[in-house]
């Protein structure tokens, strides 16, 4: 499966950010990356979503059961 290499290769210039060839620390091959990208953000979505949801619920609980319970303020 190629990534539509054809017409894009021509106008593609190597940005300074990508690892220089022969870089030992980043041996990620495109095949591995492409395979991983099949499922990637789902885990982060679930984790970040759960964390944020927990935060909002905890905030709501404190707001209603502790703050509002302690009487008005103005």
């Amino acid at each position: 499966m190629n990534f539509g290499l054809g017409e894009f290769m021509s106008n593609f210039d190597r940005s300074s950010d990508s690892p220089p060839p022969g870089d030992t620390l980043d041996p990620i091959t495109d095949a591995a990356l492409e395979d991983v990208l099949k499922t990637v953000p789902q885990g982060a979505f679930a984790l970040a979503g759960a964390a944020m949801g927990l935060l909002v619920l905890a905030w709501l609980a404190v707001y209603v059961f502790i703050f509002l319970a302690r009487g008005p303020i103005s």
Binding site: L25, I28, A44, I73
Partner: protein
């Protein structure tokens, strides 16, 4: 290679961590005093001089020097060119050192017991304030050099995206320039004239509003290096790729944009402002959570890439598969956990009316120890461990003491701050040295304070272990001095100018600052208010 900037960066880090070690000792001692276990020197003079020193070092000396060193390292390694002027960089450094050498003796001699937030009309020795002004002016040298370095690079690389780490670094430089306006005006035009005896009174409302201008964005100035490392170093350390480079640029922009016009949430309980601008700044404070929430997803995805590349399966299998043995990965994950707890404390502080529940209680102390002391400082450790081989040319002999130090810091921070949340809700006031634990209403506070103190001693051990690690561990194999930053899944080829420079950002910040602070600051020049008489605290012989 760091283009002969190694000594400059090591000097910044060295002084920063030496001051850090001293301030950690003070912190642990203060916790012992508060726990009612009667340590030596429990006089209020000693306690509040220590609180001033702890705050001044942890708030002004250590982070400013660290961020300057961090900025020089990032600038030299990402732009792959020497600093625009090494001499100016050293000049800025020595200005900061002179400032510190002027401020700290005044604090330790008890002549400036006004805490690091000054609290006019309390007025201390002029050397304390002049010292802090020199620290800020010295850091402006760093700001100029960073902007100059990026401009020089962009001229030589027209149209190419600025490397993400440098973009965050310059964002921090602009943020710091905007941030210091408030405290500089307050010091130069209000507090220093009073300290020199030129004026008899100080307009307290104006002084507090100007300090609030600085008080919130300064914590984002401290926070940005941690975010830069989340985006540009941690993904590579975990063996993955940065999920989205563009989201990194967006987060840095939003952090600069929304951290500046929100300082008045420190003045919710103040009687010199109406509800209108407090509400506007509360609304903007809610927006400042957005870049952080975007970051936890983007970095989560980057870590997920690394985890799955190492064989992590299932929805959360990638977490276990991460290389936890690497300090940068361990620190990043611990930092996010502390960010969760600290952030929870923060969104409660900001919620308009609810601020009344916990303003100036131990809840606030817990919040900023978790966010700054936890999330940010643990990343400062990780950054130091990551940069040290590049600076001294030697790998660490073993990673075990490093991991131990990071774990102890996170655990110590949790043990110290959790009791403070409970005590905060029960109304334990801030900055009180001695409690009457025989009073049945607060007797049980002592148990929680002792737990916090134990956390404080864990932090003390961890902090000293950190300095010990830096001094002794880096004697291993020859290190590769070349710094490698994370690579994005889709490296950017061209980025819209709005995300490659700061003109739009500065324009919007100017608009927001005018809307958020225009009237609140201007009002003190035309409403009838009564300035308070200067109250000297440096009269002792």
């Amino acid at each position: 290679m760091t283009y002969r900037a190694d000594r400059l960066i090591l000097a910044h880090f060295g002084v920063a961590f030496a001051a850090f070690a001293l301030a950690i000792l003070l912190g642990a001692w203060q916790m012992t005093v508060r726990s009612g276990l009667e340590p030596a020197f429990t006089s209020p003079e000693a306690y509040f001089a220590s609180v001033t020193a702890h705050g001044t070092i942890m708030g002004y000396v250590m982070p400013t020097l660290f961020i300057m060193g961090f900025g020089y390292f990032v600038s030299v390694t990402t732009l792959d060119r020497p600093l625009p002027s090494l001499r100016l960089a050293w000049a800025g450094f020595w200005l900061v050192i002179v400032g510190v050498a002027m401020a700290l003796p005044a604090v330790f001699s008890g002549k400036a017991t006004v805490l690091y937030t000054f609290y006019p009309p309390l007025t201390g020795s002029v050397f304390y304030y002049l010292g802090l002004v020199l620290v800020v002016v010295g850091s402006w040298f760093w700001v100029g050099l960073m902007i100059w370095a990026m401009a020089g690079w962009k001229k030589d690389n027209p149209g190419k995206p600025v490397p993400l780490a440098m973009y965050g670094n310059v964002a921090n430089a602009f943020l710091w320039l905007w941030t210091t306006v408030g405290v500089a005006v307050e010091l130069l035009f209000q507090v220093i004239p009073a300290s020199l005896g030129w004026t008899q009174t100080i307009d307290i409302g104006l002084a507090r509003t100007l300090f609030a201008w600085t008080l919130h964005p300064i914590v984002y100035f401290w926070l940005l290096p941690a975010y830069i490392v989340f985006y540009t170093i941690a993904p590579r350390a975990a063996g993955g790729r940065l999920y989205s480079d563009m989201m990194g640029r967006l987060s840095f922009l939003l952090l600069v944009l929304y951290s500046l016009p929100v300082g008045m949430h420190h003045l919710f309980m103040d009687p010199e402002h109406g509800t209108g601008f407090k509400f506007l700044q509360m609304m903007l404070t809610v927006l400042v959570t957005v870049p952080t929430l975007l970051t936890i997803f983007t970095i989560g995805a980057s870590m997920e890439i690394a985890g799955r590349l190492r064989g992590g399966k299932g929805l959360f299998g990638w977490i276990g598969a991460l290389p936890w043995d690497r300090p940068m990965v361990l620190a990043t994950c611990l930092s996010f956990v502390l960010l969760g707890f600290g952030g929870f404390g923060g969104i409660i502080n900001m919620s308009y009316g609810m601020n009344a529940m916990i303003h100036n209680t131990s809840w606030v102390t817990a919040h900023f120890h978790l966010i700054y002391g936890g999330t940010v400082v643990i990343m400062y450790f990780a950054i130091a461990y990551e940069f040290w081989p590049k600076l001294v040319g030697r790998e660490p002999l073993s990673l075990k003491p490093i991991r131990l130090q990071l774990w102890m810091w996170a655990i110590g921070m949790v043990v110290t701050t959790f009791p403070w949340h409970i005590l905060g809700l029960e109304g334990q006031p801030r900055r009180v040295a001695t409690f009457d634990y025989t009073n049945p209403m607060i007797a049980h506070w002592q148990n929680w304070t002792i737990v916090s103190m134990i956390g404080g001693y864990i932090l003390l051990t961890s902090g000293l272990l950190f300095v010990w690690n830096l001094l002794t561990l880096y004697r291993g194999a020859e290190a590769d001095r070349q710094m490698h930053y994370a690579v994005a899944v889709y490296p950017p080829h061209r980025v819209p100018s709005a995300l490659n420079g700061f003109d739009l950002c500065n324009g919007l910040v100017l608009f927001l600052m005018l809307m958020a602070y225009g009237y609140p600051v201007a009002q003190f020049f035309f409403i009838k208010d009564y300035p308070a008489l200067v109250h000297r605290v440096d009269l002792g012989n």
